[in-house]
Amino acid sequence: MKLDAAQSTLARLCLDRTPRDEDLTALGGDPLRWLLYRHLVRGRFVDTFSDALPVATRALGREALGTMVERWLAERPPTTRYVRELSLQFADFALDHALPEGAPPWTADALRWDAAVMRCHIADDAERVPVGPFAMDRPVVLTPARALLRLRWSVHRDEVPTEGEHALLVFRAEDSLRVEALTLDAFSFALVTAMGAPHTSLTGAVYDVLARHGEHANADVAAVLASLLGDLLERGIVRGSAPDGA
């Protein structure tokens, strides 16, 4: 059997929803041994996601997770060599498609939450952009280990989630390296979102958000801003500002 044919056949056998008899015949030998490869490949993905997406797995159950994995492998199989990124690719796929019938209504939020946690957990925070002293008239430099998330269910907090609006800043704590979440009000959420835009000074971001919220700068806004920035700086979420010329 030619190398190219062997690889395409074995890959198809592992990925297809149903193994094809012609593939087993082409590979030759004992079909059960080829089906073992299929079983090992598919089982490894399910195990990986059970670990990496714990809240979603709890919501779906392992059997429904396995069904979703089957569909993912057949329709949008993994294109990353890094195991740590597999759950992100799978979560993106699952959120783009109808979730299994009978899955609880918080399943999509559970996938979003688990994926955000994973993104923060693995984010490469090696300094790749210059960071200068914090300055209002410069763009803010935020930690890459962060994610903003709006949830309709309290999957981040409760074993049995309840419905409600949750605006979260998920981040990796600098000391413990654990992933945590801050609950933000609407103004703070919009502000942190605006801070993430490149080439926008912090002052510009604040005025943009005020304009969108129909508000004006006043003492209350200044107090909220000071408190938020103090918190973000202390937690290392704001690292400083982009220096001149950066």
Binding site: M1, L3, A6, T80
Partner: protein, 281 residues
């Protein structure tokens, strides 16, 4: 001349997150070095950076890859090789190794070590890719013999001849996985010692041992999730008598046992290593 490094002698252990704390703080004298998989660390922040930093402060590191897949027909990923070379250089690994297999096809990663046909064409293709990879790496490169459960199509060569063909044509070294030899010997009904004798043992730079699962009808599955069995300890002794004092790594990737049980395995491997080589590490 076989690459050697005085830091890498005796027994090593794979650095895995569930074991990291014990490795750093409760390592027995028998543990002398660690092996890391670059795929777990490159372009990543957080706890794995800290784990690597703490491990490096205590032990020398060698690298063992999971996804180069030299047997694949996909083009080699130049960005991956660049990152890999930088990582290998940064941790001062004396050599780098990966598996004689394929694991991706048309850009789809199957995350398994899949067999390639033991044919002359496949050997030539793989050797050419290995040469290309070696040109991008700053250290010698070794290929690991695979555990395989089935062979695609008809073989033109036996496995040992296939390995030899790839090594001869590429100039790569051999990472001899003793557990894989044992698993294959049991599953395919050949003599493990004869197989080892048929390999180019002067090209072995490092060995692996691990546990495997005994499934229905005695079929063996290479899991790295069980203790090393007595037969594999014996086969390791046999292999070391023939290769001389090459470093040996214990792989334990799943179902981590209590640390004391792993220390017992490391100590037993250390005793075998000393007895077989006549060397005190």
């Amino acid at each position: 001349m076989r690459p050697t490094d005085p830091r890498f002698t005796g027994i090593g252990l794979g650095l895995r997150a569930p074991l990291a704390e014990a490795i750093v703080h409760r390592a027995p004298p028998s543990l002398r070095w660690l092996e890391v998989s670059p795929e777990n660390h490159v372009n990543r922040g957080g706890s794995f950076v800290r784990m690597l930093h703490e491990a490096r402060a205590k032990f020398p590191l060698v690298t063992h890859g999971l996804t180069m897949c030299p047997g694949s027909t996909d083009p080699l990923d130049r960005a991956y090789l660049t990152d890999l070379a930088a990582f290998v250089r940064a941790v001062e690994a004396p050599w780098h190794s990966d598996h004689l297999c394929f694991g991706h096809r048309d850009g789809v990663f199957l995350h398994d070590l899949l067999p390639i046909p033991f044919t002359r064409d496949a050997a030539a293709h793989t050797a050419a890719r290995v040469r290309e990879a070696m040109a991008a790496l700053p250290v010698p490169f070794a290929l690991e013999n695979l555990s395989w459960y089935a062979h695609p199509g008809e073989a033109e060569l036996d496995e040992a001849a296939f390995i030899r063909a790839v090594l001869d044509a590429s100039g790569a070294w051999l990472m001899l996985d003793v557990n894989n030899v044992y698993v294959n010997a049991r599953n395919h009904g050949f003599d493990a010692r004869e197989f080892i004798d048929a390999l180019p043992l002067d090209r072995v730079v490092q060995m692996h041992v691990a546990g495997h699962l005994v499934a229905e009808h005695g079929f063996r599955i290479d899991t790295h999730g069980e203790p090393v069995c007595d037969d594999v300890y014996d086969l390791l002794h046999y292999a070391l008598r023939r290769t001389g004092p090459v470093p040996v790594l214990l792989e334990r990737d799943h179902n981590p046992p209590p640390w004391e049980a792993l220390v017992d395995e490391l100590d037993r491997l250390d005793a075998i290593w000393r007895d077989a080589t006549g060397v005190t590490p």
